[in-house]
């Protein structure tokens, strides 16, 4: 009979092997891309459809609550979303709701390059600076944008920005994209955009927040991306390749040891003597 210390050492070794295999599994596709097939989920297809089905020149507001430390999980979503919006010629108002989001959006637009789509800052897109909105701020934004933001991210008055001339509340916005990283924040848009104004809303969030967004789909939130996997799917459905493809392969191979371990640990008691 093994002692508790021996059993602990054995379990630790088992975990170390699993994590080592996981690490190897993750590394292989990053060096040799495998191109594993991607299965498209309904929330992602609907997310894309909401953007694609808008008439050209529609105004999309992006409540941008990104976090730099969580970018690995969401970068594929963001890049594919911005490219899709630009592909369809929609106008965009980004309003930053977290401290990191101004840096994140500036960096991403350097990658996507709106000007390569014929976009001009101030006429086709605008970035509003960081403001700690919260739910009450979302309400205020929907009622009166200028009560929250008087200038854009560079300090230019909103009244001097052509895109913002006729937009001052939710009525000037055709679609809201809600980006958040605190799982329960999805309730904010349901309460402040969907219930009072019946505004179409789609959302982007972390993989772990997907189950919290799912109850509101598809009647209240018309589509959502949760995690980098959804970003990979959006890259596929929109035809805009990005970092999600390599990440998807690495994730699929990295999680394989865990799946095998879970299966093995459930089957083992039935086929042999349990230690």
């Amino acid at each position: 009979m093994a002692t508790a210390k021996e059993r602990l050492a054995k379990t630790t070794r088992f975990y170390q092997i699993i994590w080592a295999l996981c690490l190897i599994g993750m590394f292989i596709p990053l060096i040799y891309p495998l191109g594993l097939p991607v299965v498209l989920s309904e929330p992602v297809k609907d997310y894309y459809k909401q953007i694609a089905d808008l008439p050209e020149g529609s105004v999309i507001a992006v409540s941008f609550g990104a976090s730099a430390s969580l970018l690995d999980e969401q970068e594929a979503q963001f890049l594919a979303t911005w490219k899709t919006i630009f592909d369809y010629g929609h106008k965009v108002i980004w309003y930053c709701t977290t401290e990191d989001s101004p840096i994140v959006i500036r960096n991403e637009l350097e990658v996507v390059k709106p000007e390569s789509y014929g976009y001009t800052y101030g006429e086709d897109y605008v970035i509003l600076p960081y403001s700690p909105l919260g739910e009450a701020g979302e309400t205020a934004f929907a009622l009166n944008i200028r009560s929250i933001y008087t200038t854009d991210i560079d300090g230019t008055s909103l009244d001097a920005i052509p895109l913002m001339q006729d937009i001052n509340d939710q009525s000037g916005i055709d679609l809201l994209i809600f980006e958040y990283t605190a799982c329960t924040s999805i309730e904010w848009v349901v309460r402040q955009w969907v219930v009072p104004y019946n505004k179409p809303v789609i959302a982007t969030t972390l993989g772990c927040c997907g189950p919290m967004a799912a109850p509101y789909y598809p009647t209240q939130v018309q589509g959502f991306l949760s995690g980098s996997g959804a970003g990979t799917e959006l890259e596929v459905v929109s035809g805009n390749p990005g970092p999600g493809a390599a990440m998807g392969d690495a994730k699929n191979l990295g999680i394989l040891p865990f799946l095998v371990a879970v299966l093995w640990m459930n089957v083992k008691p039935f086929i042999g003597k349990e230690e």
């Binding site: 996981c22 690490l23 993750m26 590394f27 990053l30 060096i31 969580l70 970018l71 690995d72 999980e73 970068e75 401290e99 990191d100 101004p102 600076p129 960081y130 403001s131 700690p132 919260g134 739910e135 009450a136 309400t139 929250i148 008087t150 200038t151 309730e187 349901v190 309460r191 402040q192 969907v194 219930v195 009072p196 972390l206 993989g207 772990c208 927040c209 997907g210 189950p211 109850p215 009647t219 209240q220 949760s226 995690g227 980098s228 996997g229 970092p243 390599a246 990440m247 690495a250 994730k251 990295g254 999680i255 865990f258």
Partner: protein, 201 residues
Amino acid sequence: MASVIGGLIGTLFIIATMSMLWKDNVFFRFGQAAIMGASVAHYTFMNFQSVHTNAIMPIMAGNVMFIIPVILGLLMYSRLSADLAWLAKYPTSVLVGVGTGVMIAGTLRGQIIDQIKQTILDAFTGLNGILIFIGVVTAFSFFIFTREHTGALGTSVKIGRVFLMISLGANFSGELVWYLTQMIGRLMYILNEFIWPLLGA
């Protein structure tokens, strides 16, 4: 060369932070302190800038109403003094009051009435709808603690427990995949920002 050095610094911080997996060590503490310090500096600056743009500038422009939120905000700091801590109750009350007022109407319709309506309507649309309906009802029954879980309620509770476990399992797998993604992202960073540029690939 500059990008390789930047990649090297980033890689060193990643390795320093992850060295905690081996054991607590001076490199981990250095990495942790550097990241915390940079984060605090960034967040402090951004929030000062936000207060400046959203409150100070309007006050300077003659909109004196903005003095009220500034005073309420400053009262939050009264917690730093034991004698004046009670003053922080005023801004807290305003926050709770506004928060409750803003959310209550939307909660009733968006999260209770509409959710119940949709769950019932979906039950007539196919197998998924029926499963969700059964899951919702039985999972709710699990939280009835004023009656003993026997008979029909007991059966419902057992089924509800299965749905709850499936739900928690799905959440847990989401967490695991999320951690893996963060790890993959850092591996991609090391490869793309340091190793490949270093090798000239």
